[in-house]
């Protein structure tokens, strides 16, 4: 049976991990590949690099770390942040990314997901959505936001999800902003609605403060995977602890014997 995935997300700026990863002893916590290796040892199912590098000139640093990570860890790597064109997608894939996550650019250029999926295959194209609950004419409206959540688009979440599926996205990452960073839990209602709407995998993002939050979003929220950053970075829990907790509560997760790490391949 397909296991529910636990996916740590690393924010990367100018080739370094930012937003403090401080749970590793004796390693350079800013080094992307060191963090990637530690997460692999803990049993991460995938890794997401979220590139917050502002300028195009510094993009080369992101490609470097992607290449370096892909030589040291052997699990799917997703890159998001600043992907604007089909050429950006190609660059990321050619430098070690297995999947590329497209967010604001999908709104600016409504053909980008479709073009990318046709060119490179649905398996590597992820539609990332920043969503928010807003009031419109006194009614609740689930709205898509862009530019890091600063700009409303007027697009309704469910319509956007269906369009993503129709255009050939292979996966959807749903980041509900009201929940993001507040550690008040994932938005279970919106996540399960999205997951039921489309038959492609849905990754829940934003709001994991406790292991129970992860359990809730993978069960009641019907998510196929849970993406989290700070709950792992700050050492509150290891990925292995999270997975043991989930398994004890009956969720199917992959728990490899991490004592036999990569060096034991013989």
């Amino acid at each position: 049976m397909l296991a529910k995935r636990i996916i740590p997300c690393l924010d990367v700026d100018k080739g370094r991990v930012v937003k403090g990863v401080k749970f590793f002893d004796h390693v350079d916590a800013g080094s992307v590949s060191e963090c990637a290796v530690r997460y692999e040892q803990q049993g991460a199912d995938e890794l997401v690099f979220y590139d917050i590098t502002a300028s195009h000139e510094e993009r080369e640093l992101t490609l470097n770390i992607l290449r370096e990570a892909s030589e040291r860890v052997f699990m799917p790597l997703t890159v998001g942040g600043g992907i604007r064109t089909i050429e950006d997608v190609r660059l990321m894939l050619n430098n070690g990314a297995d999947k590329v996550s497209i967010n604001s650019a999908a709104v600016l250029d409504e053909s980008l997901i479709k073009q990318s999926a046709l060119r490179f295959g649905s398996q590597c194209i992820v539609l990332a959505i920043d969503a928010n609950r807003v009031k419109k004419n006194g009614k609740e409206f689930w709205e898509v936001f862009v530019n890091g959540g600063r700009k409303a688009t007027g697009i309704e979440v469910m319509r956007w999800v269906r369009k993503g599926r129709d255009d050939g996205a292979g996966e959807i990452v749903l980041n509900v902003m009201n929940a993001d960073g507040t550690k008040a839990g994932y938005d279970l209602e919106m996540t399960s609605a999205v997951s039921e709407e489309v038959n492609i995998p849905v990754v829940a993002s934003g709001g994991a403060g406790t292991l129970e939050d992860m359990y809730d979003v993978l069960t009641k929220g019907k998510a196929d995977a849970a993406l989290a950053a700070s709950v792992f970075h700050f050492g509150k829990y290891t990925i292995e602890q999270a997975k043991r907790y989930l398994r004890d509560k009956g969720v199917n997760v992959r728990l490899d014997n991490q004592e036999k790490n990569l060096t034991s391949v013989n």
Binding site: M1, L2, A3, K4, R5, E40, D45, S70, E71, R72, V73, F74, M75, P76, N94, G96, D98, F120, G121, S122, Q123, C124, G170, E171, E196, N199, I200, P201, V202, K222, D224, A225, R254, D256, K260, N261, L262, S264, V265, N266
Partner: protein
């Protein structure tokens, strides 16, 4: 030397990096002559079936690949590299494959299943291998080990004897095959951490 066949369809750099990591010598090859000369061959690939077959034909790689398999040289297909070995694929139409293994490539159809709403396509993520018998590339791999998949189509061999592993996603499907020196996996060993690297190492050690 392991020849990794580059025909412009995806993940071959990951495969190369995985062989580098485990200390197995490999090189990326694009020419028919390089396949003719290779002792072991890996055929990776992600993307669309028809495009992949088309590209193999244009690059005149079909005959060298078939010859290598016929010669009994060690061969590992990965993902599309598994599917292309079959007679026919129904991905977005109906397209002939290499015809090395009798059988078809079909799409997951989960609509009749009671829990189909819970099952997603692509089948993306980590799932368990049910290993059938004593297969060289699975030496030392525990039954039930998890490996990484991403695909919407799966193979249905005519001859059950070639089934090396099965995996369950709604239905029980064939997740890898083995026949003499020919091996092919639907999952991605190069993305399956310790288990995947062990499988590649087993292949390299054959």
């Amino acid at each position: 030397m392991i020849a990794i066949v580059d025909y412009g369809m995806g993940n071959l750099h990951s495969v190369k990096k995985a062989f580098d990591f485990i200390g197995a010598e490999s090189e990326i090859v694009t020419e028919p002559a390089a396949i003719d000369a290779a002792e072991k061959i890996v055929l990776p690939g992600v993307g669309a079936f028809a495009d992949a077959i088309d590209t193999l034909q244009k690059k005149q790689l079909v005959n060298p690949l078939k010859q290598a398999i016929e010669d009994g040289r060690y061969f590992l297909g990965i993902c599309l590299g598994l599917q292309m070995l079959f007679d026919i694929s129904y991905e977005d139409g109906q397209f002939p494959g290499l015809g090395v293994i009798p059988g078809q490539v079909v799409r997951f159809d989960l609509s009749d299943l009671p829990d189909h709403a819970e099952l997603k396509i692509p089948h993306m993520g980590w799932n368990a291998l049910n290993i059938k018998g004593d297969i060289p590339i699975y030496q030392g791999i525990e039954n039930g080990s998890y490996v990484y998949f991403v695909h919407s189509y799966y193979v249905t061999p005519t001859d059950n004897a070639v089934i090396a592993t099965t995996t369950t996603h709604g239905c029980e499907f064939v997740s890898s095959i083995a026949r003499n020196n020919l091996f092919a996996t639907q999952f991605h060993p190069e993305k399956s951490q310790r288990i995947g690297l062990q499988i590649l190492k087993n292949f390299a050690n054959l």
